[in-house]
Amino acid sequence: MQRRTFLKSVAVLMLAVALPGRAFAAWLDKVFTAKTSQSALDVLAIKAKPEPSNQLMLELPEITDQPGDVLVRIRSEIPGTDLMLLVDEQRDNPVLFLCKPSSAVLADFTTQITVDKTAMLKLYVRTMAGGKEALYMVNKEVKVAFDPVVNKTGAH
C-alpha cells in the first residue's frame, strides 16, 4: 500500500515535469477550482487521511475589524514536508495557496489573503519520508468584526 502511494506520488511528479506548460496549468486549475478540500487532495493524488499535529502552525489574526487583507503564516516542523495547502472551506473554490518547499528552504512562509467574512482556514501538510506519505492538518478561525451584510440590513 505504501509502495503504491509512493509510486503514485512519483507518477504525479513525473507527470508535472513532463506536462507541457498549458497542460500543467490546466491540471493546476483543477486544484484551484475544486469545490472541496477533498477534491483538491484527490487532484493532488494525496490518499493519506489527515491527522492533527502540534508541529504545524497556522498563524493569523483571531479577529479583523473589516474585510480585507490579513497576514497569514504557515509553518511545518515535520521532517519531509513537501507540500502545504491552505484552504478556506466556505469558499466555492476552497484552495487559497499551494506551495512545494524543497529541503533548501524552511517550511515557513508568510503571505497575505483576502478575508471577506469570518472563515475557518485549514492548513494541510503532506510529508514524504522513506516513501511513506502522511497528511497533517491544523485549522484556525479568523473573525471579521464588521459584516457588511449585517450592517446593510441594520440587523445585529
Binding site: A25, L28, V31, F32, D69, D88, R91, N93, V95, L96, F97, L98, C99, K100, P101, S102, S103, A104, V105, L106, D108, F109, T110, T111, Q112, I113, T114
Partner: protein
Amino acid sequence: MIDLSMVRAAGDVRLTLRLNSAFQRATDLQVKTGAVVAEDYLQQLVLSRDGETLAEFQFSRYMRPKPTLTVTLRQARQGQQVVLTWSTSQGKRGEQTSIINV
C-alpha cells in the same frame, strides 16, 4: 516587477517578495467599454538558486490584489544567485535575478 528584500538570520537568509506597482499595473483588470473581460493575478512563482528549484508557489484568485511572501533560505551564501520566475492567470510571464548580498 517583484521587489525583493533580504535579511540574514544566523546561517539563513530571509527573503521578502512584494509585488510592486509595475506588477499591479501589468495585471490590472482588463476593462473594455466599461465591462471587465478578464481578471489577472499572480498564479505561480518559482524560486530557484543556482539552477536548483527551492520552492514553488501557486496562488488562487483570492490572493489578489497584492500578495507578499516571506521565504527563508537555509545555508544561503553571499553572492549566490536567486531567480524568481512568475506567471499570471492570463499568461504573462517574467523572470528576475537577484544576488544574495546581506
